[in-house]
């Protein structure tokens, strides 16, 4: 497999809102601290659109916007394990009332590709876009999909991965305690800001996933399926050469070989 370069990165999580705040923690220079996650207001969206959007959609749009600094018209891969649980809760609640009624806006926001659709409109991007899930390994599957798209289109691809906690009563069914999102631009060519190149393979031998080097991040890593990307983000931010093992399907691991 050809090496694929990671040329841009963004992150949004409690205590890690944006690269400026996240970099010292991901470099191990500061301990991670559990702080309240702020309300995001992605400026790419008009105010009236922003009001119609849930925190889940705004989380995805924020990291997509920050990662795609030079070109917003890229083909995109959206990966989320559980979809918009706030919408799921509201719709199921509405359906348990008499008469049953669903808000039209909530219904079109309920599709798994709602963030992708809003992103295309906001970014004015008519390129192909997909929205996928493989449960707790959704970040790995998004990375695989993005790499196959770079290889087949020979164009840069934007990967956006995100999950947001549920409210009651779904919070007891879904193991997400913190918001977490990350996005990156993958490319066949290296640019000046490149964080290194990756090669992917599915590995059936390795028994455990990589853990964060900054041990204060362990709690966050286990708080959200997408936060399993943290050991990879640490490697990329420090521009290190390392192999990272991420959760993948059927207890296998996705081996990500990062090189500089």
């Amino acid at each position: 497999m050809k090496a694929i370069y990671i040329n841009s990165l963004s992150i949004a999580a409690p205590g890690l809102v944006g690269l400026e705040q996240a970099t010292p923690v991901l470099k191990g220079e500061q301990a991670w601290q559990s702080v309240e996650f702020p309300k995001l207001a992605p400026q790419l969206l008009p105010a009236n659109e922003r009001r119609r959007m849930t925190n889940y959609i705004k989380l995805a749009i924020s990291v997509a916007d920050q990662a795609s600094t030079s070109d917003k018209s890229l083909g995109a891969v959206f990966a989320s394990s559980y979809g918009d649980l706030y919408i799921t809760d509201h719709i199921c609640n509405s359906l348990s009332q008499t008469p049953k009624f669903i808000s039209p806006t909530q219904f079109h926001n309920s599709v798994h590709n709602a963030p992708s659709g809003y992103w295309a409109i906001a970014a004015k991007s008519t390129a192909a876009s997909t929205s996928l899930s493989t449960g707790d390994s959704s970040f790995s599957s998004g990375l695989l999909e993005a790499v196959t798209q770079v290889l087949s289109t020979e164009k840069d691809i934007l990967l956006v991965a995100y999950d947001y906690p549920a409210t009651a009563p779904l919070d007891k069914c879904v193991d997400i305690s913190e918001p977490f999102a990350t996005a990156c631009v993958l490319s066949l060519t290296k640019n000046n800001n490149s964080y290194g190149s990756i090669k992917l393979s599915v590995n059936n031998e390795e028994k455990t996933c990589s853990q964060c080097r900054n041990q204060s991040l362990n709690q966050l890593q286990n708080s959200n399926p997408i936060a399993q990307s943290l050991p990879l983000l640490e490697t990329l931010i420090t521009k290190s050469t390392n192999s990272v093992y991420l959760p993948y399907l059927n207890d296998s691991k996705l081996k990500v070989e990062v090189q500089q």
Binding site: S96, I102, N113, S141, P169, C173, N250
Partner: protein, 398 residues
């Protein structure tokens, strides 16, 4: 850039027309719709329901996946000798070298709808409710992989009504990149209250059996379906045989969340990309299976897109008058209808059409047609909320 074709070496389908490809083919040839008036909704509409799903049990060892969507998945895997074909392929490739790429819009969300009715005084859901194995999108993938004994790469794509069309493109890319040697693609979507009441809230459900392309069309008839296809690469130095995936195109409208671009620009872009990847000209396509949902906006937008790309002679039809709009399973259902078209050299009419909308310019088939010349290549369109578009080209070996 032209792609190398993949052969559909096995496939299975279940929908309102019955179990198996033969049931669908016969219903198409006999002009028999599978739509029936809805019995359990608070409004009047017609649905394309699959009989016998509720009574169809999962394997005892996989009972944690129990939900209607996975029951329809099992019913589909058990149809058209599909399991046998997968077993043969597994011997050839190994359990970890066959990818599984599936589409669904609502997965097992009917389970969450049900348990919300059973909340206790504190508002808590029943303790035995298992969200991960039922409602979650990946449930369909996990169930299918475990039911077939496969352990390779996989994905659930959920892009509304283009979901199980896009799986063909994703499978092709994963094979090309070397992450698997063959792939199972498909989609399963059962009728849920989220879909029925949701489309009703948007005033998009028809009060009659849906009438795509009719001047009096008033919306969709929601359907449910399952479909799977095994895709294999052609052996080098051996002639191709069977129906092939020859091309795919994907695009975004970037226009509106629930209304297609009025000029059909995104749809036209997807069709043009599909033609380029199949290395075919428009005059080499002998049939277009329309997305054709029967909403006023979809059929008009799609007609504009087709006029933009094709000449007015290419025969088109929507088959949703037969199956209903099977949402996340529409892509695979109509892909397999295209397989039936190519294998049987038969073009289905646009069922339920009484008065052709005079504003449409495409050549809509008013009657079933046995074509005079061989049908070699066909295109199938699937579009969805969020402005997602996918066009697939299937054909006989050239």
């Amino acid at each position: 850039m032209p792609i190398s074709p993949l052969i559909i070496t096995a496939s299975s389908m279940v929908n309102a027309l019955g179990r198996g490809k033969k049931a669908t083919l016969e219903a198409l040839q006999q002009k028999r719709s599978g739509l029936q008036i809805a019995q359990h909704l608070e409004f009047s509409t017609w649905l394309g329901q699959v009989e016998g799903v509720d009574e169809y049990p999962l394997e005892k060892t996989l009972s944690q996946f129990n939900c209607r969507n996975n029951q329809l998945a099992k019913l589909t895997l058990d149809t058209d000798d599909f399991r046998h074909a997968v077993n043969q392929a597994t011997k050839k490739y190994g359990t970890d070298r066959i990818g599984v790429f599936l589409g669904t819009s609502t997965s097992g969300s009917e389970e969450t709808e049900k348990v919300y009715q059973q909340r206790d005084a504190n508002g808590d859901l029943p303790k035995d409710f298992n969200y991960q194995y039922t409602d979650n999108f990946s449930s369909l993938l996990d169930y299918t992989q475990q039911s077939l004994g496969l352990k390779g790469v996989g994905q659930v794509i959920s892009t509304a009504c283009s979901s199980s069309a896009k799986v063909f493109a994703t499978a092709h890319r994963h094979i090309e990149a070397g992450f698997c040697d063959a792939a199972i693609v498909g989609g399963v979507d059962t009728i849920t209250e989220i879909s029925t009441y949701g489309f009703h809230a948007l005033e998009l459900t028809s009060t009659q059996p849906c009438r795509p392309c009719d001047e009096n069309r008033d919306g969709i008839s929601i359907g449910e379906a399952g479909g799977y296809a095994l895709l294999e690469q052609a052996k080098t130095n051996e002639p191709l045989h069977g129906v092939c995936l020859k091309g795919y195109g994907e695009s975004s409208d970037a226009y509106h969340m629930s209304t297609p671009h009025p000029e059909g620009l995104g749809a036209a872009n997807a069709m043009q990309q599909a033609l380029a990847s199949a290395d075919l000209n428009t005059d080499e396509i002998q049939y277009i299976n329309l997305h054709g949902t029967a909403t006023p906006s979809n059929d008009s937008s799609e007609d504009n897109a087709i006029s933009h790309v094709f000449n007015k002679q290419t025969p088109c039809s929507s088959t949703k008058g037969w199956t209903g709009h099977t949402l996340g399973a529409a892509g695979i259902t109509e892909a397999l209808i295209c397989q039936l078209v190519l294998e049987n050299q038969f073009l289905p009419e646009n069922l339920n059409l009484l008065h052709l909308d005079p504003s449409l310019n495409s050549h809509i088939l008013l009657d079933n047609l046995q074509p005079e010349h061989q049908v070699e290549n066909v295109i199938s369109n699937s579009f969805g909320f969020g402005g997602t578009n996918c066009s697939l080209i299937f054909g006989l070996p050239s």
